[in-house]
Subunit: 414 residues, 2 copies
């Protein structure tokens, strides 16, 4: 295939992770070194930045600051939650994207995000093919939720998993400090539809300080069974540590976070159900049932922002999917997402492979039933074997004066 010469754009989209900027760094550093890529542009706030011509020239950034991206949480390029309409329905946005691509002679487009971002990639790619504008489009995966299809796991998941397991182990040790009896602690963990992060709490059991009970959104939640589970654990051990996904639902598909403490709903000042209220619903239910002291801890944004506790393996893989996105595109690949494929070897090895975007765009990968325990209130050794290799190795976060030293980008418009 003839070399395609031109500029590239990298954009980030959706909720951030601890390592999404490591992927951006992988794309930027690799593209800056590639002779076919004439200019490396970044879009501020993803596809919105392209529509509004808010681009910046990565070649003007200090290489030392680009290195610091690997220890910087959040999306350093800026993110967005912008859904492109189908181009058959309304092609205004697509025409504008084409205009910008032509303006800067953009021939490579890398988009760093989750399911929705892969859908955006796919739509942009199809449109460019339709209008005969040659541009290679590659998705760079990220999501703490780990629900992207077509990949063994997703960059971002392992670092959140490591933070969750570490924090639960530490708090669980703390909670036992007064001896007999012990308290009841409920951790509310992110993952609306897929329970990967909640399942990751089980990693803390590798140091004997993990949850006694784990509730995944894949399994219909039964309040009576739950309270009976808590009673049983308390009878055995005194206290009880619980990890529950924010997205657990009852058999009728109603979110448990929408249950009030007496079966009625908990509403905010506007009559809306309060998001992230699961821990408080469950703690109130347990208090009512047992009369015991219960503490609810919602890990909230902490779990996706804790770059100080990121996984070295995750950082490495996040960088590599970015690097491989550029290399694959230059080789001639397009309309693909870079996925991680685990080798069938004793030692953990994951290789980067390109999979069709369409495969990743419209599917949601869930925790398989055969990785759960029999009662479906925990996970088994198969999940641990899957997840444990992913959380190895230290963070790359640099500190200055005892605090994180985040990357500072100049963001100079070309």
């Amino acid at each position: 295939m003839a070399a395609l010469k031109g500029a590239c754009i990298i954009g980030q989209s959706g909720g951030p992770t601890s390592v999404i900027n490591a992927s951006a760094r992988g794309v930027i550093e690799t593209a800056l070194k590639n002779e076919n890529i004439t200019q490396v542009l970044a879009a501020e706030n993803g596809i919105k930045g392209i529509l509004e011509d808010r681009l910046f020239d990565c070649g003007l950034e200090d290489p030392k600051e680009l290195e610091l991206l690997s220890g910087t949480p959040s999306s350093s390029l800026g993110s967005c939650r912008y859904k492109l309409k189908d181009s058959d329905v309304d092609d205004t946005d697509y025409k504008r994207i084409l205009e910008i691509f032509k303006k800067y002679n953009v021939r490579y487009f890398f988009y760093n995000g989750g399911n929705d971002s892969m859908d955006t990639c796919n739509k942009v790619s199809k449109y460019m093919q339709k209008v005969g504008y040659e541009c290679r489009v590659i998705g760079v995966p990220k999501t703490i939720d780990n629900d992207l299809a077509g990949t063994d796991h997703c960059p971002g998941f392992a670092s959140a998993a490591k933070y969750i397991a570490t924090s639960i182990a530490e708090v669980s040790l703390d909670a036992k400090v007064y001896g007999q009896g012990g308290p009841i602690v409920v951790f509310e963990i992110m993952g609306r539809n897929a329970g990967w992060l909640t399942a990751a709490s089980a990693l803390a059991n590798c140091v004997n300080e993990g949850p006694d009970l784990i509730y995944l959104p894949e399994v219909p939640f039964d309040m009576d069974k739950f309270l009976a589970d808590v009673d049983r654990i308390r009878a055995e051990k005194g206290g009880c540590i619980i990890a529950a996904s924010e997205g657990i639902m009852d058999k009728d598909g109603k979110f448990i976070s929408e249950y009030g403490s007496s079966g009625s709903q908990t509403l905010d000042a506007f009559g809306h159900n309060q998001l992230g209220g699961l821990a408080s619903v469950l703690t109130n239910k347990i208090k009512e049932h047992t009369g015991a002291k219960v503490r609810g801890i919602e890990l909230s944004l902490l779990q996706r922002a804790a770059a100080h506790c990121a996984s070295g393996v995750d950082l490495d893989e996040a960088y590599r999917v970015g690097e491989e996105a550029v290399n694959a595109a230059v080789r001639g690949e397009t309309d693909k997402m870079i996925a991680l494929k685990r080798a069938d070897s004793e030692e953990y090895v994951c290789n980067c492979v390109a999979v069709p975007l369409s495969e990743a765009a419209n599917a949601e990968r869930k925790v398989p039933e055969e990785w759960m325990n029999e009662e479906k209130n925990g996970v088994n050794e198969k999940f641990i074997a899957y997840a444990l290799p992913l959380i190895q190795g230290p963070t790359l976060q640099k500190t200055e004066n005892g605090l994180p030293r985040f990357a500072h980008l100049k963001k100079i418009h070309p």
Copy 2:
């Protein structure tokens, strides 16, 4: 003074910190090396363990596991919240303590805790003097709250401060990811009566990702002023990051956490005010007032258990107060607490000094008014100059398989 030969007991009491076990390690390792100390005993669950003869022999522990105490949060010896009666009122407990001290020939007693623990130390010491049993009693300070009098700061504070500043910086960066507008985030931070930890959130401003508004329990909280503050910051910056102490009260002394979203109270299933509900009260108030999206994050037990983010300076000082407790006692000191005295030097230096227990036992040190900003909704550079040197240096937590490797003690009864 003639050398006093005999056993020692070390106990821990009150809420744990990330570094309280570093102090225990300091006591144990120093005592094990001292020729005047014939046996090093630890009490399980503090004074309760002494009353119940639940002691273990530290000389039988693996020295490698003792080293790991410096990366282990919680109280590895076990803690208690047990208040001794005055011996004039009821001396049952004191007689039992004397009996145990005689049984093991205990001539040194080290107690590792906060204000209440210093009170316990003081009472035990006075009783032993009264009955003529020679035993040297030294308090080893700890508290994340930093409210102990007689010391520049208290081991445990800096590590919690570092975790809080790091986490707020990371989350604040994450929260800004979608650009204009930005969200409103309320962090609820521990410290019922003293605002040291809440003030420590300001350290995140050293990396430009700190709170815009800080509310300390030292300052009467005014809801209208608060909402006006939020409006002003939002007008300037779009979003607003708020740090508030769980213990803030209005001018009438009512806890803000006891306000319901419409001025009424938020009660749990038993009609009790829910502890730790401040973030939810403030987020609801802001939502009502602005209609904007608001996220509340309660740092809960995470902030005192996060040994993975402990301060190196704190760990060093925690060890040193333990070490100095033993050395001072062997030198002949008794009825003292080991305090940290900051040297009047350019570079940060803190020395260990012995102060009378009575000085520490019955006072509560608060954030001085001259360290607050003019509006009293933030702190000034004097606080930063005080706190920043304390959070320097990395954690000593060891990991194994990507997870914290906590100390495992055998706890063999002598």
